[in-house]
């Protein structure tokens, strides 16, 4: 509850929340950054953050899944942001990596509302494919941090491995990341342009 919400209405267990785990998404850290942003000296100032870092998940492992991989995340904290701002920001971002046709689908994340899955027409795959996830952080998450009421945070994220594997036509994630990568592949890799 809190921040005008009816909440989940169950007994929150602090011990459960304090258990250590390897982060499953970098949002765990960006939320710490938002907390610092809300409580810094000189008070909140609008900010844009990004992160490209490693995450860990208990996935079923197959050709495209390992239990550790990398996420790319961006977020903007500013006054009165809207879903329109999120759509515009995401379009600007994906244009930079060569995907210009985008569509947005309503989705669900526990900590964002509204949420959108981002679909793009991939120029290499020549089909529409899911390229990212996004949303606006829920007030139940932002208000306890101390962010002012009219500050909204828009955020989006994607995995690093998937677009890379598509671009370089790599089928198995072990050929991209880890000690089994062939040196010959590294030696013949081109500069990265879109």
């Amino acid at each position: 509850g809190g921040a005008g919400s009816i909440g989940y209405r169950y007994d929150f267990q602090k011990e459960e929340a304090y258990k250590n785990l390897l982060r499953t998404h970098t949002t765990a850290i960006s939320s710490q950054m938002l907390y610092k942003l809300a409580n810094r000296e000189g008070d909140f100032q609008p900010a844009r953050y990004f992160s490209i870092d490693r995450v860990f998940r208990n996935e079923t492992m197959d050709a495209t899944h390992l239990c550790e991989f990398h996420q790319v995340e961006g977020l903007v904290a500013d006054y009165d942001l809207s879903l329109g701002d999120l759509i515009g920001t995401i379009e600007t971002f994906f244009k930079k990596i060569g995907i210009t046709q985008l569509r947005f689908k309503p989705a669900f994340n526990p900590y964002t509302e509204p949420s959108m899955e981002v679909f793009g027409y991939h120029p290499i795959l020549k089909k529409w494919t899911e390229i990212g996830n996004s949303g606006m952080f829920r007030p139940e998450m932002l208000r306890p941090m101390g962010l002012p009421e009219n500050v909204r945070v828009i955020a989006w994220g994607l995995s690093l491995e998937r677009p890379t594997m598509i671009k370089y036509k790599i089928d198995n994630i072990r050929d991209l990341f880890g000690h089994k990568v062939e040196m010959a592949r590294t030696k013949t890799a081109p500069v990265c342009r879109f």
């Binding site: 998940r57 500013d78 569509r103």
Partner: protein
């Protein structure tokens, strides 16, 4: 067993938001919808609404995929080849977990039907008495309902079972939070009781096997060991070790079900069942209400008075039989919630009129909506099927969905900000370029490794590290405290590469150390990341001087000057006059003492410590080591050529 000190256990956590998948026969779906679509058209509809057509398959195709070997023609024919749509639905929409709910929501979205009004009809005619002092020990709550005059067909029945399975898997957290029991009301006699009793004294004929009666203990053993009942095995631990097992009883003291394991044979639902008694036992009352409301909302469609349900009186009694708490269930509550019109417009980034917003609510099961306070406040109806509405932002999102996300005008945030990399990342990126230029190939290796790779194989003692509880594999025992094993394993797996003129690789990445003082936002995590540079040379000679040269190069690049004594020994003396370095930043190399924890990795007498003096530090700190790798270490990684390595803490050079 090697004892590793644990400063908190890192656990790999399951991704909790796996989208539930609902399988629906295509023809059945289109019959219910009253329209046919091409796969593409249906995909578009799903997209706009917020669900995803994930796969188009058939029961037969699924069986082929699931089976290890080839299936015989007869086996294949036992599976239907009717086309099935696999639809992914959001994890918070329990009303979309069956074809009834999906169809209803889509028809409302398309404007082909109005949202039903769910009604609890009349006063409770049935009672459920809960022996609170017993059930509190294992599974405190129960909620109940009666569906009157229902008609089942095979399809409806299958869907009824499937919905319960979906709920059990998702919201009920594998039945630990809530378990659903459904009974043919005409085969049993109320009033009902919910109790928790000594398992040795429980006699029960379950749905399977239904040919005999078991006591509680024997039944748990049966489900744990019998291969035909292996689908029930996962739920046994929920109650097995309890002194009392939950039981639902009718007035004749017949055990109707043993939650959360299985229902009884006596009250089994068949296609001829006309009246259904539903009980949901739970450890979480809020979720129990949501589960019961969902089952009722979905299947009351098939009652002779559609969308109606008969309530049940649930009385919690103490040991003396006195009623200490009571409620009438199901709640089937229809709430009214409010969100300011301006807020909805602002959050989504649209500017529609209050009237238009009010009308859009009908598409997403939030109608009928009203406008209040001079058309500034939108008040919506939240039916029992929309338990996901927690806050005005949920209402705003639905307004956005009804408007169509792809109709929203895009803009960008107005505030200008100045971007930059974190200083540590920036330094790392600059050095990566330089080390690449020095002929080293960059690699990126895994953070999780075995204790063997991280310590034993490197001839190092086991020191505190972050370890994982329940690792699935020895390769995930701990998080690395050094980058070296990743590099050595890369050499191990690249034997076909050319070593004859020296094979050089490096990595700049994080390791994790146990650290009981490291604090982020007031919580002691118990571990800290540390950025390291690690490089290995492997070739016809050991390359000690080459690695040594890299160390000097890194220091020069980071504006750290060599100590006078160190320079005096170097052949590069004349270049020194051009050196630029930071005031007070000085380094030197000295022999690594054999008792150092890292010394075992190196050939005796061929290992060096990199010592740094910085203005903050004052005294010399060992920030890294380098040297010729010990032959045993090379053997442990199956490396055939002499090698040297260096590993330095990058953060200390910042």
């Amino acid at each position: 067993i090697i004892k590793v000190e644990r400063f908190g256990c890192g656990e790999l956590v399951e991704v909790l938001n796996k989208m539930p998948t609902v399988g629906v026969e295509k023809d059945l779906l289109f019959t219910h919808l009253g329209k046919t679509y091409t796969d593409h058209e249906f995909d578009e509809l799903c997209f706009e609404f917020g669900i995803e057509l994930d796969d188009v398959t058939s029961e037969r195709e699924d069986a082929i995929k699931a089976s290890a070997g080839a299936l015989s023609k007869k086996q294949l024919e036992s599976f239907s080849d009717a086309i099935v749509y696999k639809i992914d639905v959001p994890a918070n929409r329990y009303d979309l977990l069956c074809v009834e709910g999906l169809v209803r929501s889509l028809k409302i979205f398309l404007g082909d039907m109005d949202a039903p009004v769910y009604k609890v009809v009349g006063e409770p005619k049935e009672t459920m008495t809960v022996q609170k002092s017993n059930t509190d020990k294992i599974r405190p709550f129960v909620v109940c309902a009666v569906l009157r005059d229902i008609s089942f067909t095979q399809e409806r029945y299958d869907s009824f079972i499937e919905l319960q399975d979906q709920l059990h898997r998702n919201l009920c957290r594998q039945r630990t939070l809530v378990a659903i029991g459904t009974h043919d009301y005409d085969t049993v006699k109320g009033p009902f009781a919910y109790d928790a009793r000594d398992p040795t004294k429980i006699e029960f004929v379950p749905l399977t096997p239904d040919d005999k009666s078991f006591n509680g203990i024997d039944l748990m053993t049966h489900y744990e060991t019998e291969p035909t009942c292996k689908h029930l095995k996962p739920y046994v631990p929920i109650i097995k070790d309890s002194l009392v097992y939950p039981v639902i009883l009718d007035s004749e003291e017949t055990v109707l079900s043993l939650p959360p394991i299985i229902n009884g044979s006596k009250s089994k639902i068949t296609l001829d069942t006309k009246n259904v008694f539903i009980e949901c036992t739970a450890t979480d009352l809020t979720k129990a209400h949501i589960v019961l409301d969902t089952v009722v909302a979905m299947f009351s469609e098939y009652c002779s008075e559609p969308y109606s349900v008969e309530p049940v009186q649930v009385n919690y009694v103490d040991e003396g039989g006195k009623v200490v708490n009571s409620m009438v269930t199901p709640l089937m509550a229809t709430r009214r919630e409010r969100a300011p019109v301006a807020f909805c417009n602002s959050l989504i980034g649209i500017s529609i009129s209050p009237e238009e917003m009010k009308t859009l609510c009908n598409k997403v099961q939030l109608g009928p909506a009203e406008l209040m306070e001079n058309d500034t406040i939108l008040e919506v109806t939240v039916p029992p099927t929309r338990s996901d509405i927690l806050h005005p932002v949920d209402i705003a999102e639905d307004v956005g969905i009804a408007f169509g996300y792809n109709n929203i005008k895009k803009k960008v945030p107005r505030t200008c900000t100045v971007g930059a990399e974190q200083p540590l990342n920036h330094l790392g990126d600059l050095l990566r370029e330089e080390i690449g230029r020095a002929g080293y190939i960059e690699v990126l290796t895994h953070g999780l490794c075995s204790i063997r790779d991280n310590f034993t194989a490197l001839r190092r003692p086991v020191t505190p590290a972050v370890s994982l509880s329940n690792p699935a594999n020895i390769e995930y025992q701990i998080v690395r405290t050094t980058l070296l094993p990743g590099l050595l394993k890369t050499l191990q797996h690249n034997k076909s590469a050319s070593f004859t003129s020296g094979f050089k690789i490096f990595e700049i990445s994080d390791i994790i150390l146990a650290d009981d003082k490291h604090v982020v936002t007031e919580t002691i995590v118990g571990a800290k990341n540390r950025r390291k540079i690690c490089a290995v040379y492997s070739g016809p000679t050991s390359g000690f001087e080459i690695i040594h040269g890299l160390v000097d190069r890194i220091m020069t690049l980071c504006e750290v000057a060599p100590e006078q004594a160190y320079v005096a020994n170097s052949a590069k003396g004349p270049e020194e006059k051009y050196r630029v370095s930071r005031e007070g930043w000085v380094y030197t190399i000295s022999e690594l003492p054999p008792e150092d924890t890292l010394a075992g990795t190196y050939f005796p007498g061929r290992a060096a410590a990199v010592l740094l003096t910085s203005p903050d530090g004052g005294e010399k700190i060992q920030i890294g080591t380098f040297g010729i790798i010990h032959p045993e270490v090379l053997k442990n990684f199956d490396i055939l050529y002499p090698s040297s390595c260096v590993e330095i803490d990058l953060e200390s050079l910042l």
